[in-house]
Amino acid sequence: MSTEEHHHHDESYAELRTKALESLLVEKGLIATNAIDDVVRTYEQDIGPMNGAKVVAKAWTDQEYKKRLLEEGTSAIAEVGFTGAQGAQIVVLENTDDIHNMVVCTLCSCYPWPVLGLPPSWYKSEAYRSRAVVEPRAVLQDFGLELDPAINVRVWDSNSEIRYMVLPQRPAGTDGMTEEELIPLVNRDSMIGVAVVEPPTQKS
Protein backbone atom coordinates (compact mmCIF):
# COMPACT_ATOMS: atom_id res chain seq x y z
CA MET A 1 0.00 0.00 0.00
CA SER A 2 1.46 3.33 -0.99
CA THR A 3 1.71 6.18 1.50
CA GLU A 4 -0.69 8.15 -0.65
CA GLU A 5 -3.41 5.49 -0.54
CA HIS A 6 -2.94 5.16 3.18
CA HIS A 7 -3.17 8.90 3.67
CA HIS A 8 -6.30 9.07 1.57
CA HIS A 9 -7.87 6.28 3.57
CA ASP A 10 -7.09 7.98 6.88
CA GLU A 11 -8.36 11.32 5.62
CA SER A 12 -11.81 9.97 4.84
CA TYR A 13 -11.77 8.04 8.10
CA ALA A 14 -10.99 11.27 9.98
CA GLU A 15 -13.77 13.02 8.08
CA LEU A 16 -16.24 10.34 9.13
CA ARG A 17 -15.17 10.49 12.75
CA THR A 18 -15.39 14.25 12.79
CA LYS A 19 -18.94 14.08 11.42
CA ALA A 20 -19.88 11.51 14.04
CA LEU A 21 -18.36 13.55 16.86
CA GLU A 22 -19.93 16.82 15.74
CA SER A 23 -23.36 15.30 15.23
CA LEU A 24 -23.42 13.63 18.66
CA LEU A 25 -22.27 16.75 20.51
CA VAL A 26 -24.72 18.98 18.61
CA GLU A 27 -27.67 16.67 19.27
CA LYS A 28 -26.84 16.58 22.97
CA GLY A 29 -26.93 20.37 22.94
CA LEU A 30 -23.31 20.60 24.04
CA ILE A 31 -22.03 22.59 21.09
CA ALA A 32 -23.63 24.88 18.50
CA THR A 33 -23.11 24.48 14.76
CA ASN A 34 -22.86 28.21 14.12
CA ALA A 35 -20.19 28.54 16.81
CA ILE A 36 -18.04 26.03 14.92
CA ASP A 37 -18.79 27.80 11.62
CA ASP A 38 -17.65 31.06 13.17
CA VAL A 39 -14.38 29.62 14.49
CA VAL A 40 -13.58 28.22 11.03
CA ARG A 41 -14.45 31.48 9.26
CA THR A 42 -12.46 33.53 11.78
CA TYR A 43 -9.23 31.59 11.22
CA GLU A 44 -9.78 31.36 7.47
CA GLN A 45 -10.47 35.04 6.99
CA ASP A 46 -9.75 37.27 9.98
CA ILE A 47 -6.72 35.94 11.83
CA GLY A 48 -3.56 35.34 9.85
CA PRO A 49 -0.07 36.58 8.95
CA MET A 50 -1.53 39.86 7.64
CA ASN A 51 -1.95 40.74 11.32
CA GLY A 52 1.70 40.22 12.06
CA ALA A 53 2.66 42.07 8.89
CA LYS A 54 0.82 45.17 10.18
CA VAL A 55 2.75 44.96 13.44
CA VAL A 56 6.06 44.61 11.61
CA ALA A 57 5.37 47.49 9.19
CA LYS A 58 4.39 49.72 12.07
CA ALA A 59 7.58 48.86 13.94
CA TRP A 60 9.64 49.59 10.83
CA THR A 61 8.16 53.07 10.50
CA ASP A 62 7.65 54.10 14.12
CA GLN A 63 10.71 53.91 16.39
CA GLU A 64 8.68 54.52 19.54
CA TYR A 65 6.32 51.70 18.64
CA LYS A 66 9.22 49.38 17.86
CA LYS A 67 10.69 50.09 21.30
CA ARG A 68 7.38 49.23 22.99
CA LEU A 69 6.98 46.13 20.82
CA LEU A 70 10.38 44.72 21.79
CA GLU A 71 9.87 45.58 25.45
CA GLU A 72 6.27 44.49 25.92
CA GLY A 73 5.15 42.60 22.86
CA THR A 74 1.70 41.62 24.07
CA SER A 75 0.46 45.14 24.83
CA ALA A 76 2.12 46.67 21.77
CA ILE A 77 0.43 44.07 19.59
CA ALA A 78 -2.88 44.68 21.39
CA GLU A 79 -2.54 48.38 20.44
CA VAL A 80 -2.82 47.34 16.79
CA GLY A 81 -5.86 45.28 17.73
CA PHE A 82 -4.59 41.73 17.99
CA THR A 83 -5.28 39.65 21.07
CA GLY A 84 -6.63 36.22 21.78
CA ALA A 85 -6.08 32.48 22.13
CA GLN A 86 -2.43 31.38 21.89
CA GLY A 87 -1.31 34.96 22.31
CA ALA A 88 -1.65 35.58 26.03
CA GLN A 89 1.96 36.70 26.20
CA ILE A 90 3.87 37.44 23.01
CA VAL A 91 7.59 38.16 22.96
CA VAL A 92 8.97 39.81 19.82
CA LEU A 93 12.55 38.99 18.75
CA GLU A 94 14.45 41.43 16.57
CA ASN A 95 16.62 40.17 13.73
CA THR A 96 19.68 42.32 13.07
CA ASP A 97 22.81 42.18 10.93
CA ASP A 98 24.40 40.00 13.60
CA ILE A 99 21.51 38.00 15.03
CA HIS A 100 19.00 35.72 13.35
CA ASN A 101 16.13 34.44 15.49
CA MET A 102 13.94 31.50 14.57
CA VAL A 103 11.04 29.96 16.45
CA VAL A 104 10.05 26.33 16.92
CA CYS A 105 7.94 24.25 19.28
CA THR A 106 9.60 20.87 19.70
CA LEU A 107 6.97 19.39 22.04
CA CYS A 108 3.85 20.49 20.19
CA SER A 109 3.36 23.16 17.50
CA CYS A 110 2.86 26.29 19.61
CA TYR A 111 2.58 29.40 17.51
CA PRO A 112 1.39 33.00 18.04
CA TRP A 113 -2.10 32.67 16.54
CA PRO A 114 -3.33 36.27 16.99
CA VAL A 115 -0.50 37.62 14.82
CA LEU A 116 0.24 34.71 12.48
CA GLY A 117 -2.96 32.67 12.37
CA LEU A 118 -2.81 28.89 12.47
CA PRO A 119 0.60 27.31 11.85
CA PRO A 120 1.58 26.06 8.38
CA SER A 121 2.13 22.33 7.81
CA TRP A 122 5.92 22.57 7.77
CA TYR A 123 5.94 24.23 11.21
CA LYS A 124 3.94 21.29 12.56
CA SER A 125 6.10 18.69 10.78
CA GLU A 126 8.30 16.28 12.70
CA ALA A 127 11.21 17.32 10.48
CA TYR A 128 11.04 20.95 11.61
CA ARG A 129 10.25 20.21 15.25
CA SER A 130 13.10 17.72 15.60
CA ARG A 131 15.78 19.48 13.57
CA ALA A 132 15.35 23.21 14.27
CA VAL A 133 17.04 22.97 17.68
CA VAL A 134 19.99 20.82 16.62
CA GLU A 135 20.74 21.92 13.06
CA PRO A 136 19.00 25.26 12.47
CA ARG A 137 21.33 26.32 9.64
CA ALA A 138 20.68 23.08 7.80
CA VAL A 139 16.93 23.65 8.26
CA LEU A 140 17.22 27.21 6.93
CA GLN A 141 18.95 25.76 3.87
CA ASP A 142 15.80 23.70 3.24
CA PHE A 143 14.07 27.08 3.00
CA GLY A 144 16.75 28.39 0.65
CA LEU A 145 18.24 30.65 3.29
CA GLU A 146 22.03 30.45 3.63
CA LEU A 147 23.19 32.48 6.64
CA ASP A 148 26.65 33.98 6.98
CA PRO A 149 28.62 31.93 9.55
CA ALA A 150 29.25 35.17 11.46
CA ILE A 151 25.54 35.58 12.19
CA ASN A 152 24.50 34.25 15.57
CA VAL A 153 21.54 31.90 15.18
CA ARG A 154 19.12 32.00 18.10
CA VAL A 155 16.51 29.30 18.24
CA TRP A 156 13.52 29.77 20.56
CA ASP A 157 11.76 26.61 21.68
CA SER A 158 8.19 27.65 22.60
CA ASN A 159 7.70 25.18 25.43
CA SER A 160 5.66 27.47 27.71
CA GLU A 161 2.49 29.47 27.09
CA ILE A 162 4.62 32.43 25.98
CA ARG A 163 4.57 32.84 22.22
CA TYR A 164 7.40 34.16 20.09
CA MET A 165 7.34 36.23 16.92
CA VAL A 166 10.31 37.45 14.90
CA LEU A 167 10.65 41.08 13.81
CA PRO A 168 12.46 40.64 10.51
CA GLN A 169 14.93 43.21 9.13
CA ARG A 170 13.49 45.93 6.94
CA PRO A 171 14.83 45.27 3.48
CA ALA A 172 17.09 47.68 1.59
CA GLY A 173 15.47 49.98 -0.92
CA THR A 174 12.32 50.62 1.11
CA ASP A 175 13.32 53.94 2.65
CA GLY A 176 10.64 55.97 0.94
CA MET A 177 7.82 53.49 1.53
CA THR A 178 4.92 54.09 3.91
CA GLU A 179 3.67 51.71 6.57
CA GLU A 180 0.76 50.74 4.31
CA GLU A 181 3.09 50.04 1.39
CA LEU A 182 5.40 47.92 3.54
CA ILE A 183 2.69 45.59 4.88
CA PRO A 184 2.39 43.41 1.76
CA LEU A 185 6.16 42.84 1.70
CA VAL A 186 6.12 41.05 5.06
CA ASN A 187 5.73 37.31 4.54
CA ARG A 188 4.69 34.82 7.20
CA ASP A 189 7.93 32.85 7.14
CA SER A 190 10.01 35.92 7.97
CA MET A 191 8.03 36.34 11.20
CA ILE A 192 8.84 32.74 12.20
CA GLY A 193 12.47 33.28 11.27
CA VAL A 194 12.93 30.90 8.36
CA ALA A 195 12.97 33.61 5.69
CA VAL A 196 13.99 37.22 5.25
CA VAL A 197 11.83 39.97 3.81
CA GLU A 198 12.89 40.58 0.23
CA PRO A 199 13.18 44.09 -1.24
CA PRO A 200 10.16 45.10 -3.34
CA THR A 201 12.08 45.08 -6.64
CA GLN A 202 12.48 41.33 -6.41
CA LYS A 203 8.78 40.80 -5.73
CA SER A 204 7.44 41.81 -9.14
Binding site: A14, L25, N34, G84, L118, S130, D157
Partner: protein, 225 residues
Amino acid sequence: MNGIHDMGGMHGFGKVHHEDDEPVFHETWEGRVMGIRRSLVKHDIYKPYNFRFSVESLSPPEYLSASYYERHLKATENAAITKGLITREEMDERMEYFRRNPDALPARREDPKESEQIQQITFMLQPLNRDTGGNPAFHFGDMVRARNINPLGHTRLPRYIRGKTGTVVKYYGNHDFPDIDMDGKTSPPQPIYSVQFDAAELWGTSAEENQLLFIDMWEGYIEPA
Protein backbone atom coordinates in the same frame (compact mmCIF):
# COMPACT_ATOMS: atom_id res chain seq x y z
CA MET B 1 6.25 11.88 29.69
CA ASN B 2 9.20 10.89 27.52
CA GLY B 3 6.86 10.49 24.59
CA ILE B 4 7.43 10.62 20.86
CA HIS B 5 6.14 14.22 20.95
CA ASP B 6 9.39 15.17 22.71
CA MET B 7 11.34 15.07 19.45
CA GLY B 8 13.81 17.95 19.77
CA GLY B 9 17.18 16.73 18.47
CA MET B 10 15.91 13.56 16.84
CA HIS B 11 17.26 12.58 13.43
CA GLY B 12 15.59 10.71 10.63
CA PHE B 13 12.53 12.81 9.80
CA GLY B 14 14.02 14.08 6.55
CA LYS B 15 13.91 17.52 4.99
CA VAL B 16 11.40 20.25 5.82
CA HIS B 17 8.90 20.57 2.98
CA HIS B 18 7.44 23.99 2.36
CA GLU B 19 4.02 24.16 0.72
CA ASP B 20 3.43 27.36 -1.23
CA ASP B 21 0.09 29.15 -0.82
CA GLU B 22 -1.07 26.67 1.75
CA PRO B 23 -4.75 26.90 2.74
CA VAL B 24 -5.61 27.42 6.43
CA PHE B 25 -7.44 24.08 6.40
CA HIS B 26 -6.60 21.46 3.76
CA GLU B 27 -9.85 19.60 4.43
CA THR B 28 -13.21 20.79 5.69
CA TRP B 29 -13.14 18.34 8.61
CA GLU B 30 -9.94 19.94 9.93
CA GLY B 31 -11.75 23.22 10.49
CA ARG B 32 -14.62 21.38 12.18
CA VAL B 33 -12.16 19.72 14.58
CA MET B 34 -10.74 23.14 15.40
CA GLY B 35 -14.23 24.51 16.07
CA ILE B 36 -15.38 21.53 18.12
CA ARG B 37 -12.24 21.67 20.23
CA ARG B 38 -12.69 25.38 20.87
CA SER B 39 -16.39 24.89 21.67
CA LEU B 40 -15.65 22.18 24.21
CA VAL B 41 -13.40 24.45 26.29
CA LYS B 42 -16.42 25.53 28.33
CA HIS B 43 -17.19 21.90 29.20
CA ASP B 44 -13.78 21.59 30.82
CA ILE B 45 -13.22 18.21 29.25
CA TYR B 46 -9.44 18.31 29.45
CA LYS B 47 -9.23 18.27 33.26
CA PRO B 48 -7.54 16.83 35.30
CA TYR B 49 -5.27 16.20 32.35
CA ASN B 50 -4.93 18.72 29.62
CA PHE B 51 -5.40 18.61 25.88
CA ARG B 52 -1.66 18.44 25.32
CA PHE B 53 -1.24 15.38 27.53
CA SER B 54 -4.13 13.75 25.74
CA VAL B 55 -2.31 14.23 22.41
CA GLU B 56 1.01 13.08 23.88
CA SER B 57 -0.60 9.93 25.22
CA LEU B 58 -1.32 8.61 21.73
CA SER B 59 1.03 5.67 21.15
CA PRO B 60 4.13 6.63 19.14
CA PRO B 61 3.04 4.83 15.94
CA GLU B 62 -0.42 6.37 16.25
CA TYR B 63 1.08 9.81 16.89
CA LEU B 64 3.44 9.65 13.92
CA SER B 65 0.91 8.26 11.47
CA ALA B 66 -1.61 10.97 12.34
CA SER B 67 -1.65 14.53 11.08
CA TYR B 68 -1.94 17.51 13.43
CA TYR B 69 -5.72 17.64 13.15
CA GLU B 70 -6.05 13.86 13.31
CA ARG B 71 -4.21 13.98 16.63
CA HIS B 72 -6.51 16.75 17.82
CA LEU B 73 -9.53 14.76 16.72
CA LYS B 74 -8.40 11.63 18.56
CA ALA B 75 -7.50 13.59 21.69
CA THR B 76 -10.81 15.49 21.65
CA GLU B 77 -12.82 12.33 21.11
CA ASN B 78 -10.94 10.49 23.87
CA ALA B 79 -11.43 13.40 26.28
CA ALA B 80 -15.15 13.67 25.47
CA ILE B 81 -15.59 9.96 26.12
CA THR B 82 -13.51 10.01 29.32
CA LYS B 83 -15.54 12.97 30.56
CA GLY B 84 -18.77 11.09 29.79
CA LEU B 85 -20.14 13.57 27.25
CA ILE B 86 -20.47 10.75 24.74
CA THR B 87 -19.82 7.01 24.77
CA ARG B 88 -17.61 4.84 22.61
CA GLU B 89 -20.72 2.91 21.56
CA GLU B 90 -22.47 6.07 20.41
CA MET B 91 -19.42 6.94 18.32
CA ASP B 92 -19.34 3.47 16.76
CA GLU B 93 -23.04 3.62 15.88
CA ARG B 94 -22.77 7.13 14.49
CA MET B 95 -19.70 6.17 12.43
CA GLU B 96 -21.66 3.29 10.98
CA TYR B 97 -24.55 5.63 10.14
CA PHE B 98 -22.35 8.12 8.28
CA ARG B 99 -20.54 5.27 6.53
CA ARG B 100 -23.86 4.02 5.18
CA ASN B 101 -25.11 7.51 4.41
CA PRO B 102 -22.14 9.30 2.88
CA ASP B 103 -24.23 12.34 1.93
CA ALA B 104 -25.74 12.81 5.38
CA LEU B 105 -24.61 15.80 7.42
CA PRO B 106 -24.59 16.42 11.18
CA ALA B 107 -27.78 18.05 12.48
CA ARG B 108 -27.52 21.82 12.94
CA ARG B 109 -28.11 23.65 16.19
CA GLU B 110 -27.94 27.44 16.03
CA ASP B 111 -27.16 29.41 19.14
CA PRO B 112 -25.99 33.01 18.54
CA LYS B 113 -25.19 33.53 22.20
CA GLU B 114 -22.95 30.48 22.33
CA SER B 115 -21.04 31.57 19.26
CA GLU B 116 -20.53 34.93 20.90
CA GLN B 117 -19.02 33.24 23.96
CA ILE B 118 -16.72 31.12 21.80
CA GLN B 119 -15.61 34.14 19.77
CA GLN B 120 -14.71 35.80 23.05
CA ILE B 121 -12.32 32.97 23.82
CA THR B 122 -10.81 33.38 20.37
CA PHE B 123 -10.18 37.11 20.82
CA MET B 124 -9.87 37.54 24.58
CA LEU B 125 -6.56 38.53 26.16
CA GLN B 126 -6.03 36.21 29.13
CA PRO B 127 -2.79 37.25 30.86
CA LEU B 128 -0.52 34.47 32.09
CA ASN B 129 0.95 36.29 35.05
CA ARG B 130 -0.16 35.13 38.50
CA ASP B 131 0.10 37.00 41.79
CA THR B 132 1.16 33.87 43.65
CA GLY B 133 4.29 31.79 43.28
CA GLY B 134 6.77 33.88 45.24
CA ASN B 135 9.78 35.93 44.28
CA PRO B 136 12.20 34.69 41.63
CA ALA B 137 15.14 32.73 43.06
CA PHE B 138 17.23 33.32 39.94
CA HIS B 139 18.32 36.48 38.20
CA PHE B 140 19.83 37.68 34.96
CA GLY B 141 23.18 36.00 34.38
CA ASP B 142 22.71 33.15 36.85
CA MET B 143 24.10 29.82 35.69
CA VAL B 144 21.53 27.08 36.11
CA ARG B 145 21.29 23.40 35.36
CA ALA B 146 18.07 21.84 34.08
CA ARG B 147 16.98 19.03 36.35
CA ASN B 148 16.98 15.46 35.12
CA ILE B 149 13.31 14.59 35.53
CA ASN B 150 11.55 11.80 33.65
CA PRO B 151 7.93 11.97 34.79
CA LEU B 152 5.24 9.73 33.35
CA GLY B 153 2.84 12.68 33.39
CA HIS B 154 2.84 15.93 31.44
CA THR B 155 5.92 18.15 31.47
CA ARG B 156 7.34 21.01 29.43
CA LEU B 157 10.96 20.22 30.17
CA PRO B 158 12.14 18.44 27.02
CA ARG B 159 14.67 15.62 27.18
CA TYR B 160 17.36 17.46 25.19
CA ILE B 161 17.57 20.19 27.87
CA ARG B 162 17.70 17.97 30.96
CA GLY B 163 21.01 17.96 32.79
CA LYS B 164 22.33 20.82 30.66
CA THR B 165 23.75 24.09 31.96
CA GLY B 166 22.56 27.48 30.74
CA THR B 167 22.20 31.12 31.74
CA VAL B 168 19.11 32.96 32.93
CA VAL B 169 18.43 35.86 30.57
CA LYS B 170 14.98 37.04 31.63
CA TYR B 171 12.42 36.65 34.39
CA TYR B 172 8.97 36.62 32.81
CA GLY B 173 6.83 36.69 35.97
CA ASN B 174 4.99 33.80 37.61
CA HIS B 175 2.96 31.39 35.48
CA ASP B 176 0.80 28.37 36.18
CA PHE B 177 3.04 25.31 36.49
CA PRO B 178 2.07 22.94 33.65
CA ASP B 179 3.31 19.60 34.96
CA ILE B 180 0.56 17.16 35.88
CA ASP B 181 1.33 13.81 37.43
CA MET B 182 -0.45 10.54 36.70
CA ASP B 183 -2.93 11.18 39.49
CA GLY B 184 -3.92 14.47 37.87
CA LYS B 185 -2.17 16.44 40.60
CA THR B 186 -1.10 19.98 39.71
CA SER B 187 1.20 22.45 41.55
CA PRO B 188 0.94 26.19 42.31
CA PRO B 189 2.27 28.88 39.95
CA GLN B 190 6.04 29.40 39.74
CA PRO B 191 8.50 31.99 38.45
CA ILE B 192 9.37 31.35 34.82
CA TYR B 193 12.57 32.40 33.06
CA SER B 194 14.05 32.52 29.61
CA VAL B 195 17.23 30.43 29.82
CA GLN B 196 19.94 30.50 27.18
CA PHE B 197 21.97 27.41 26.30
CA ASP B 198 24.98 27.22 24.07
CA ALA B 199 24.39 24.74 21.25
CA ALA B 200 27.70 23.01 22.07
CA GLU B 201 26.43 22.35 25.61
CA LEU B 202 23.35 20.68 24.14
CA TRP B 203 24.88 18.74 21.25
CA GLY B 204 28.63 18.50 21.88
CA THR B 205 30.81 18.50 18.80
CA SER B 206 27.76 17.84 16.62
CA ALA B 207 26.48 21.37 17.32
CA GLU B 208 26.46 23.92 14.51
CA GLU B 209 28.75 26.90 15.01
CA ASN B 210 27.58 30.13 16.59
CA GLN B 211 24.18 28.99 17.84
CA LEU B 212 22.21 29.66 20.98
CA LEU B 213 19.02 28.00 22.19
CA PHE B 214 16.45 29.82 24.32
CA ILE B 215 13.78 27.98 26.23
CA ASP B 216 11.37 28.86 29.02
CA MET B 217 12.14 27.24 32.36
CA TRP B 218 9.80 27.21 35.32
CA GLU B 219 11.77 27.55 38.54
CA GLY B 220 11.15 23.90 39.46
CA TYR B 221 12.94 22.81 36.28
CA ILE B 222 16.28 24.35 37.23
CA GLU B 223 18.84 24.35 40.02
CA PRO B 224 21.96 26.48 40.58
CA ALA B 225 24.85 25.22 38.42
